[in-house]
Symmetry: C2
Subunit: 456 residues, 2 copies
């Protein structure tokens, strides 16, 4: 492992650890040392806060933390925050990819080196260090922290089904959405190649979604809109060959109210070329999936969105975890049995006293709570700390064809009004004026001119 | 070579050629045969026009052709038209990629099968057939035409310099622009990795442009704007390490007026961190270029834009060509020594009587001219045919920092006013209302919020 001139980033290391690190050092970085020294001298009373991740939780910490009290360093393999509730809309071009992401560097760092495009790979709680690996050049380096927030999220759970990683698409990142969009458009063009048989056309235009949670349902909804609004216009003869199949072993939208769930199921079943199959997938191949009881379903695209699994980092760290390999935290979101310097939030954490669902809403609330707590701790106001609590403010889902679901604690709405609500709520939740400007623009453009089917 | 059920696409084939083709047929396409038959019956008096390419020339034919007179089939490896004068703006995010492209399927085909994502690979003028290869599944098939327009354009000329194809980026397509954008952003992030030496940082942020034509100059201009407007804000400490070098063996912007050329040179030389080097590149490596006389120039990105070379298709067809392997055409743009059924336009053609420059303007004019000629021919009005002529309406170039050049036959403008003109002219030239809506929106967004540096 190579260790770099750590002093440039971490002037607050004590002399012992600096020496220990220098022993491993292979390349010196004489760059700007006097300037850096001066720069960091002014911050010597600040603690170093390391945030792992750039999802809902981590981004919320970053936005709410008092940067006068902390030197913040963010470690993440992606350089932007992603507004996940609108991700499905980008898979067919209702929204553009860049309309729902926000570069992390725009969040007002004191120094641009405080964001590093890297992954945390291991953690030493006793020494207050994290080992990071650059995702650009694979170099590993050591990072010292005073406080650490782990908000690395989770990955899609394949449940060990063979072929998922090789042949299915996940839908967690903007890069996934782009791959799905290109694959959909490619399949339409392939289906129009001169020597393609009708069976092959039907296979190419059979889209399979595994998992009936909000992501699966909303992706199906967007696909339905794309077929109804654009395919009919641009690929007239192929339209009749398209079919969308949603496979779910139990019930769709399990976290929603039963009445709303029924409405969603009814809507979906009414739709020609849309099938809801109660089964589970046992194998995923290049051109088909195999269901329970051996049914073979030929298809041109499989999108896999069935629950969460821990990231390798979370699974490997030596901290208390629950059965799902989530980090167990107390009611102050501090990792259990640690010295109080490590916090875990979002999908990679589990509050032992009263577990909350793994949603963006919870993660965001946890992030702002931790930012506030850290501020109080830094100012010595420990008595003002309150345990974390969260109140569900409601859930929304889009069903396609201007129909939505809105599940609030006090009221349940379905249909067109819920769709209006869906758009309004997410519009107001967008994190910056740029996005608030861009998203309605995209909606209008799609409404007037349809979705862009260019591939490049 | 596999040949498909040609009748689906080409009902006007005579029985002899259908038989000839059926002999090669390996997969039948029973699909919709009755429906297709009916559909094509209505068109039996129309000639089949095959257009190769979707650039300025071919797209102009497609827009101007009378679709009542012809069954048009477009063959191209890309499914969109690209507004090339604004391509450089997308390499740094001033404009987004989809803001300057127009899907070919939006141009009102009679049947969606009339656009095929394929490349022409050979031509038999005697039999009026083109062999095409699908770029999706590599299947080859035969296409019969009554009239053929070759508008396949050209590729960048490497002049046989070793390493160009492997290590340099071209800037002809939107996919190139995206690769360049990602590489620029990646280099900035790499330069900020903890253990990178100052020399390595400088290498990563040294951007080399080979070729001083409009593309090279405008890419340099956009890079300059990006550094000045965004890098200074987002990568404060890296700013001083950035440098842009434009290498040109002769003079920059050779087609422009000498006074304007001097203005451009003066502007560039005034700029810190911008160098104009009069030399030529003899080798391109992963991390450096080698110049004439052996100078080694370390760099993180090489963009190669030095003139045009023929596409393999143009080079291989058995038709009269000039020294540059361009198809020689007469003053009616018909390929010389052919039977009058093959037209060639744009960068792949050469008018023997009075050669015109290889520009978008000429290609577009040639396209609309051919569309009109074909209409007259189809209606038997051969006496109304006029030889092709073109009058230069002027040239524009962007120099960065709100400075431009405008070279009109009657007046020469430089500076801020030319920049306004540059934007206004290209805005009005955009091919659709969607783009006319999107481009000013992007300009405004960049002006207010800066360029998006997200990578995915």
């Amino acid at each position: 492992m190579r260790v770099f001139t750590i002093a440039r980033f971490f002037p607050r290391l004590n002399s012992h650890s600096v020496k220990a690190i220098r022993r491993f050092q292979t390349t010196a970085s004489p760059l700007n040392s006097s300037e850096t020294q001066t720069k960091y001298d002014t911050s010597k009373h600040r603690q170093r806060l390391v945030i792992l991740g750039t999802g809902w939780g981590s981004y919320s910490v970053l936005k709410h933390i008092d940067k006068k009290l902390f030197d913040v360093i963010v470690i993440s393999p992606r350089n932007h925050f992603l507004f996940t509730p609108l991700l499905c809309s980008t898979t067919v071009g209702t929204l553009e990819f860049r309309s729902i992401i926000e570069p992390i560097r725009n969040t007002g760092f004191r120094d641009e080196h405080h964001f590093q495009l890297a992954e945390a790979i291991s953690l030493s709680p006793d020494e207050h260090t994290v080992v990071c690996r650059s995702i650009l050049n694979n170099e590993e380096y050591l990072l010292k922290y005073d406080k650490l927030v782990i908000g690395v999220g989770a990955v899609s759970n394949t449940f060990g089904v063979p072929g998922v990683n090789e042949n299915a698409f996940f839908l967690k990142e903007v890069a996934d959405a782009r791959m799905i969009r290109n694959q959909i458009l490619k399949n339409f063009e392939l289906a129009m190649q001169p020597d393609v048989t009708e069976d092959e056309q039907k296979r190419l235009l059979q889209f399979v979604i595994v998992g009936g949670g909000p992501t699966g349902v909303e992706f199906g909804a967007e696909l339905y809109d794309f077929v109804k609004q654009d395919v009919t216009r641009l690929y007239v003869h192929e339209r009749s060959k398209v079919s969308v199949t949603l496979i779910e072993a139990r019930q769709i939208l399990p976290s929603f109210d039963a009445k709303l769930r029924d409405f969603a199921e009814r809507k979906m079943k009414q739709r020609e070329q849309f099938r809801l199959v109660q089964s589970s997938v046992t194998e995923v191949h290049k051109d088909h999936v195999k269901l329970q009881h051996g049914t073979i379903m030929p298809c041109g695209l499989v999108v896999w969105s069935t629950g969460l699994a821990p990231r390798p980092f979370t699974a490997s760290v030596d901290l208390p975890k629950n059965n799902n390999n989530q980090l167990v935290v107390d009611e102050f979101l501090r990792v259990k049995d640690s010295d109080g310097s490590i916090f875990a939030i979002g999908d990679c954490s589990f509050i032992e006293a009263h577990p909350y669902p793994c949603t963006a809403q919870v993660a965001e609330r946890e992030g702002s709570y931790v930012a506030k707590s850290l501020g109080l701790l830094a100012q010595g106001k420990t008595s003002e700390l309150q345990p974390f609590s969260w109140k569900n403010i409601g859930m929304l889902a889009y069903l396609g064809d201007y129909q939505g679901l809105a599940d609030f604690p006090t009221s349940k709405l379905q249909g067109f009004k819920s769709w209006i609500l869906w758009r309004s709520v997410y519009f107001t939740k967008l994190g910056s004026w740029r996005l608030r400007f861009q998203v309605p623009f995209d909606w209008m453009r799609t409404f007037i001119w349809g979705r862009d089917i260019s591939q490049f």
